[in-house]
Symmetry: C2
Subunit: 304 residues, 2 copies
């Protein structure tokens, strides 16, 4: 388990870095968006990466679909150490470009080989591994987001992939307010009900969702330990691609802010599960990231 004090300690560490206290903006009456898309590196991942990398010595390595990789690359640059990021071949170009922008080396592999690729780099170089979610320092860093939320929210809706962000937030807020959002097909509600983290044995990423940052099938062991103790299965909300797209469009149009599909899943959950969370009066939605492949999106639309 992780203590509240560990998260407060992480916040003190981050206060000395460029990590931002991101804005909370009202999208509809009583519904607030925490804009982690405007965080440095374009996602909440900068929080956990900075908290971890500031406590390691020497070079670092990680695997990531994109945002964690960019965040670790940024944190390594901040600290002046070398960084290698192992990415799946399918990662969006924008995310790979961001990793390179912060001066990290990129190694592309298939999803199944990523753990092994990281191990080889650790063995060869002695670099420290920065896990995207299964690490208490990373979870504590992500949890700092919750310290910035107003006390009077009745519900906080958090996207879940490996579970680091949600575990950090639940550590601060307790389980009562927290709703977990997953892409359809992940089956986290069933896993929680069965008390079995690996209920669905496949470790292949979720291929169908457009939320490219949320393709992990299983929670990490540490996030599972925290979340399964605090969150009942009924508080898991599954979202369809259609709802994610509608929520992205609303975010773009009504807030004029750019989110990636994962970043729109909390609003998508509100659209699809109003009955479950809508009864709560003041609702916070975590817009977790904003890194999109913008040029090809615009080129296709404007036929350029």
């Amino acid at each position: 388990m992780l203590s509240y004090e560990a998260v407060v300690g992480a916040a003190a560490r981050l206060a000395k870095t460029p990590v931002r206290k991101t804005p909370l903006v009202e999208i509809w009456e009583g519904v607030y968006c925490k804009l982690e898309n405007t965080q440095v590196t374009g996602s909440f991942k900068a929080r956990g990466a900075a908290n971890k990398v500031l406590q390691t010595k020497g070079s670092v390595v990680c695997h990531s679909a994109g945002n964690h990789g960019a965040a670790v690359a940024w944190a390594a640059k901040l600290r002046g150490v070398e960084c290698t990021v192992v990415v799946p071949r399918t990662a969006p170009e924008a995310k790979k470009a961001l990793i390179r922008k912060f001066g990290a080396a990129i190694v592309e592999t298939d999803h199944a080989r990523r753990a092994q690729a990281v191990r080889e780099i650790v063995d060869r170089t002695g670099a420290s591994m920065v896990h995207p979610f299964d690490d208490l320092d990373v979870i504590a860093g992500q949890g700092t987001l919750a310290l910035e939320l107003p006390d009077d929210l009745d519900a906080v809706v958090v996207p879940v992939s490996g579970g680091g962000l949600a575990a950090g937030i639940a550590t601060v807020l307790g389980g009562d307010k927290v709703f977990l959002v997953e892409p359809e097909g992940k089956g986290l509600g069933k896993a929680l009900a069965a008390g079995n983290r690996l209920l669905d044995p496949s470790m292949e990423p979720l291929a169908e969702t457009i939320a490219d940052g949320m393709r992990s099938r299983a929670l990490g062991e540490r996030p599972w330990g925290i979340l399964s103790a605090k969150i009942p299965p009924s508080r898991v909300l599954s979202v369809s691609n259609e709802a994610i797209l509608e929520a992205m469009a609303l975010t773009f149009q009504d807030l004029k802010t750019v989110c990636e599909p994962s970043g729109a899943t909390a609003l998508a959950a509100l659209l699809e599960h109003r009955d479950t969370i809508g009864a709560r009066r003041r609702i916070g939605l975590v817009v977790c990231g904003g890194n999109l492949d913008v040029p090809p999106m615009l080129r296709r639309f404007y036929r350029l």
Copy 2:
């Protein structure tokens, strides 16, 4: 001509409405974006429309490619009067939806018939016409944007279609700091050099540019009167679709803010004409609007 005092008077009028003082954010060192995409109705047009409609009696009518129509519809709703907007059949769906959202009636026509369509409505209903740019109250309203800029900018880059926004800003700042941005093919530099507003006699809209809010070929008489007296032809910067698209992508990625193509033209001008304006140290770019057809853009990209 328009006086500085008229713009200050407009600002006093707008201060009693929901029209916003929009943020100015730094995109690169010394380069600032004035985010009129976050203005009410999603563009600077709310300023001029509100200033005009608050001074008229009874119902209003206008023609518009979109943003002016939405702004007049919004201002009419604020004042509690009826509104009709004549739009070209080619206007983006998002802009038409915004006009309807504010309760206005829409009349679709061909570009060539729009003035006549407005006249018929004025004759039939006695509504007041709110011109998108050729009206001193509208120009004064748009000029209020300049009152919100810091004094120490060395250059302010302003998109030009009919010229209302640029004329209002030049009224406040004088001509020395102001650069005008046009889509390629408009020929404003040549028109200013020749002292002939209608140098290019075609009144067909510019079809090639992706900046759908900037398709007017000629300035209005009143904006022309102001701008031709203050701005030399060398201060007109033409931007290509490629540069507009690149600037949109930078705005989306680096600021996480949603702009429409017209809204990215000032940054596009900085990309394409760095040598002309780049020597000035502190540069303000007017991001004039953010109303995009987001759902089809996302659908096409995510194949949904």
